[in-house]
Amino acid sequence: MSGRAMLEVTSLAKSYQSRNGTTDAIADVSFRVASGEFVCVVGPSGCGKTTLLKCLAGLLSPTAGEVQLNGEPVRRPPPNMAFVFQDYSNSMLPWLRVENNITFPLRHKGVSADRRAALAEETLRVVGLGEFARHYPWQLSGGMQQRVAIARALAYEPEILLMDEPFASVDAQTRSDLEDLLLDVWARYGVTTVFVTHDIDESVYLADRVFVLNDRPSTVQMEVPVELPRPRDQITTKELTEFTKLRTEVMRTIKHARRSRSDEERMGQA
């Protein structure tokens, strides 16, 4: 890991209390993310990825452990952190035009009107939606709405960007376009990124490092450094033997974790 640790997660645990009892979502997760790094967290559905990200964002308070951003404990959403949700249509304010969806978080941050307009224009251009500023989000396709969500995150000028399976509900072609767009934007703005996904290929394609989570309650099963050259390309990068090796390694880890977990359960029942 190069550079100083910007985000530091120490022995994080999270359980949900509900009427039907306690759900242990995260057992014990620790990792560090350096400034400017692109980190992916990959794990099977329901393993606690969203829970983890919400704890990092200060939207949920952990049951145990701590999250520190630039050495400060995170207790509420920090002003230098932006979030892109999985459910793009639900994260848009349908009564606001695209440009205002991008600028609404900026006003209370004290950004001047001129600067807000400039940021909206610039970030929309960067995500290729320059002409759609005056549209309403519901007039755009899913992939376009997710690009608006990315533009909103960038306009917030964050030091760190958290993304929760942002491309999980768009079609395959749009998805690879969005992955490349994201890598461009990341290289351009140098923003530290934590990207959550259940897609192993996606995690290896995007990341500097991949954290593999196992089933709920999750721990970090493995950390995989990805030293594929940048800029990456959907065809040539994915042709590299190194890429195939890495994705196989991640896949094997997840499969192995599942098998040993179910063995344990079987023995527990016996």
Binding site: P77, P78, F83, F85, L93
Partner: protein
């Protein structure tokens, strides 16, 4: 790419025809009523021909009487509706957002709501006398419920994704209320206002007709007592027209302010 039509309502395949078709329908019914009276299918003494009623309306128009009666009815309607809105919107939003208050008040609300407002008429007369306060009370009581229920429902129906987005971008409770909760609840409240506006007119006219508070209802009763049958029908026609105009105005305002809401969107997007 969906485009917003300039005139949202013209989604029928023959744009511009709906007005003329409607006009033809009105003329047909009026002709039928005219014939019913002319041929004495109903005694024309008690059911005068449409042309005679229209003549009576024409006689009323230049006199100040008609306009002051309309003014009195509208005053009771407007003040009652405003009182209901001022009480029901904040209360509904509070009840809808705090689970404990919702539980505590549900029984009370379920008990009060089914009381037909007209059943309160004798009590209202005893408390407020035969005047406009009595009218305002009845109108406000009846108008209160649809607005209250729409406000409760609206607050409870806010997309959790939108709320979470606002929180993730650091909006505090006040900003979240102003920028997310209020705009999302508004469509429901607008529907409640439109429904209540119709109910308010009914209650205003009923209290005038039954108790004799000044207004269109009393004018109808007075013309009846004086056996000025065409004048009676003229006042009825004016009351009907007033109701229609109010409803049209509320619908237009609703569609204009809330064009982004799914219920209005289908009309606005081609």
């Amino acid at each position: 790419m969906a485009k917003v039509a300039r005139d949202g309502r013209d989604t029928n395949p023959w744009p511009g025809t709906s007005f003329w078709v409607g006009l033809v329908g009105v003329l047909l019914v009026m002709t039928a009523l005219e014939l019913v009276a002319r041929f004495e299918l109903l005694p024309s003494r008690w059911f005068p021909p449409v042309t005679v009623v229209l003549g009576a309306v024409a006689d009323l128009l230049p006199t100040g009487d008609l306009w002051s009666e309309i003014g009195r009815t509208l005053w009771g309607w407007g003040v009652g509706l405003a009182v209901a809105a001022v009480l029901a919107i904040p209360l509904g939003m509070l009840v809808g957002s705090v689970e404990a208050i919702y539980r505590a008040l549900r029984v009370v609300i379920e008990f009060l709501r089914p009381i037909p407002s007209v059943a309160l008429l004798p009590a209202a007369v005893l408390i407020f006398g035969i005047g406009s306060s009595m009218k305002v009370f009845l109108v406000a009581f009846a108008s209160f419920w649809p607005i209250l229920f729409q406000a409760i429902y609206g607050v409870q129906d806010i997309s959790p994704g939108v709320k979470e987005t606002a929180r993730a971008y650091g909006l505090g409770p006040v900003s979240r209320f102003m920028r997310v909760i209020l705009p999302s609840t508004l469509p429901y409240v607008a529907t409640g206002l439109r429904i209540s506006s119709a109910i308010a007119l009914i209650l205003a006219v009923t209290s005038e007709l039954v108790v004799g508070a000044p207004g269109l209802g009393q004018a109808i009763a007075a013309a009846h007592t004086a056996a000025q049958i065409p004048t009676m029908y003229a006042f009825i026609a004016v009351t009907g027209t007033l109701g229609w105009l109010l409803n049209t105005a509320f619908q237009a305002a609703e569609a204009r302010a809330l064009h982004w809401h799914p219920a209005q969107r289908e009309k606005a997007v081609v």
